[in-house]
Symmetry: D2
Subunit: 197 residues, 4 copies
Amino acid sequence: MPVKLAILFYTTYGTNHRMAEIADEAARATGAEVRLRKIAETAPASVVNGQEAWKAQVERMADIAEARPEDLDWADAYLFSAPTRFGAGPSQLRAFIDTLGPLWSQGKLADKAVSAMSSAQNVHGGQEATILGLYTTFLHWGSIIVAPGYTDPVLFKSGGNPYGYSHTQGAEFDEAARGAIAHQVRRLVKMAEKLAA
Amino acid sequence: MPVKLAILFYTTYGTNHRMAEIADEAARATGAEVRLRKIAETAPASVVNGQEAWKAQVERMADIAEARPEDLDWADAYLFSAPTRFGAGPSQLRAFIDTLGPLWSQGKLADKAVSAMSSAQNVHGGQEATILGLYTTFLHWGSIIVAPGYTDPVLFKSGGNPYGYSHTQGAEFDEAARGAIAHQVRRLVKMAEKLAA
Amino acid sequence: MPVKLAILFYTTYGTNHRMAEIADEAARATGAEVRLRKIAETAPASVVNGQEAWKAQVERMADIAEARPEDLDWADAYLFSAPTRFGAGPSQLRAFIDTLGPLWSQGKLADKAVSAMSSAQNVHGGQEATILGLYTTFLHWGSIIVAPGYTDPVLFKSGGNPYGYSHTQGAEFDEAARGAIAHQVRRLVKMAEKLAA
Amino acid sequence: MPVKLAILFYTTYGTNHRMAEIADEAARATGAEVRLRKIAETAPASVVNGQEAWKAQVERMADIAEARPEDLDWADAYLFSAPTRFGAGPSQLRAFIDTLGPLWSQGKLADKAVSAMSSAQNVHGGQEATILGLYTTFLHWGSIIVAPGYTDPVLFKSGGNPYGYSHTQGAEFDEAARGAIAHQVRRLVKMAEKLAA
């Protein structure tokens, strides 16, 4: 049976959307069944619409379904992708996470393989801290953390964040970036397959 | 000139409200000027009103003003108090923090003395991780972190969390608990006084 | 084939030795092949011998082999147990970890299932931070983090640290403590079995 | 009275030695009294001498005094600089820290202003995690954490690590790097001056 993977991303201007798409493509190529889901926006519409780039990104994602708790129940593995907000995940993502209490208390988040990616405005802008903070949350769920470490040479070319792929806002998604994302999600799928067996 | 202290708390059932009140009283006794502020609720009214204990707490806080970014601009020192949500601050608090970009980019959060407290359902339920995660955010602001460490004997009696006072939900606020909170906020005010001189 | 588990502990006065023994017994009961190993002491003999309790503990461990890098190469899964030193693992453990560069660069630490336990003098004395700090290191190795989360009711009775079992120095190893340790190691073995399949 | 600053660094091949020297020069220019100290090597002489580059660095530091606990007692402020070892400080530094129990229990590490810098082989190689892990330790001491945040434009040019300056091994110490280090230490001295007043 193919691994069921939920890719959940939050984005304001599109960086993490792009990262999620690259992961989606690489995961599908492994034969995994994938749900690509956007985290619901919680900022007031007036704020979003007041910024052209933000509004445009919302429109670009119009056809992507919003993440729901049942997606996490359905999946064998989760890949989260979100920018930093002062060294932590954005409140939109935390708001979604805060709705997972009922699933958690039934043990339905336990034993899932999980991995995370992030981005920041600066090279060292909180990417490590953001991913590690998400992993702390996943440990509460009883999830199994599957990070890339240095398990492939491409990671040394893409900045070498062993916790998860890290993007610097505005940088190109070159071959190393795409390769690092693809490696991370393939590794996640492989481990999820073993864990679900 | 007295230190200006903003005490900002988020609570669902009242634990962190009580912690904030104890801190408020101890801070005023030092002569500090205090703004006690609740973090705005972002959960839908239908969810809040569907739980008696949550709704009752909202009513108990009706007279407390909501925290606004300008409170952080005004203050010399910040004390945050919030429960854990899977090892991180609640999304309500993160939503407030995410509105601080404009203040941050003007450097108005820099050089403030800051400290944090937390609570969880379990004794080791993420209190350390939640406080440390908030401190990571405050480092982005250029705030000065003033934690209690083990700078007073009362800390050994109250559980000894050197990062900030930690409560276990449902436990009494006994003398050690009140003493630890009072010590933490007095220490914060003292350091803020020096930093603002 | 049985899972090969390395239990590696550092102790000064015996707390983490006891934790490791409880884990050892529970792991063997699952059929796992276990190597119980002490982390080598690096403090000068004059310091160790100057403290009766420390010296006595060294004698109690005389028959336990010291951990070597090849134990990590051999094993499918690792369980680490060590007290906190100001919110991080003790230097003895870090010294052992720092010798693992050659194994790491050959990828021999990757894909292993790993879990950790800790203890401190105080209830909230850095146990969470110490375990999370070790997990950060294991992510560099490409290890797979298997923490208890809240996957068994016994965890709520034993203090509820979702990152790994946490002991307060001097407390008894009661049924809840032993149960929490046993659950953590059994879960680790179970996941390691799947990952090694 | 001038601020008394202890700059404590550990290095294998010289990167953090260079960082410490840049900080030393910038600190002296403020009028601070500085003790530049190397952390004692704990690796066996046979290992050190077996690597030409390591041995050469040891010789280059022959005239620098080793850090002793009393340097921390003497100083008003501490700047630590050390490379990452799998996302944490090197065992040499942790070994020094582990000797500080007696000073800590007398409260002599409390109220000191402290900051940290790090380096890694990769761009995202654990620099954030290493500095944050050190700050966790300093919170145990009751130290006051003074990180750069984004309090100067130079930080955006030097990689923008708000927790402390981060170097990628082998990169040049260009104007932005030197400026970021100088800003961090000047800010530390300024805050220490206020705290010691």
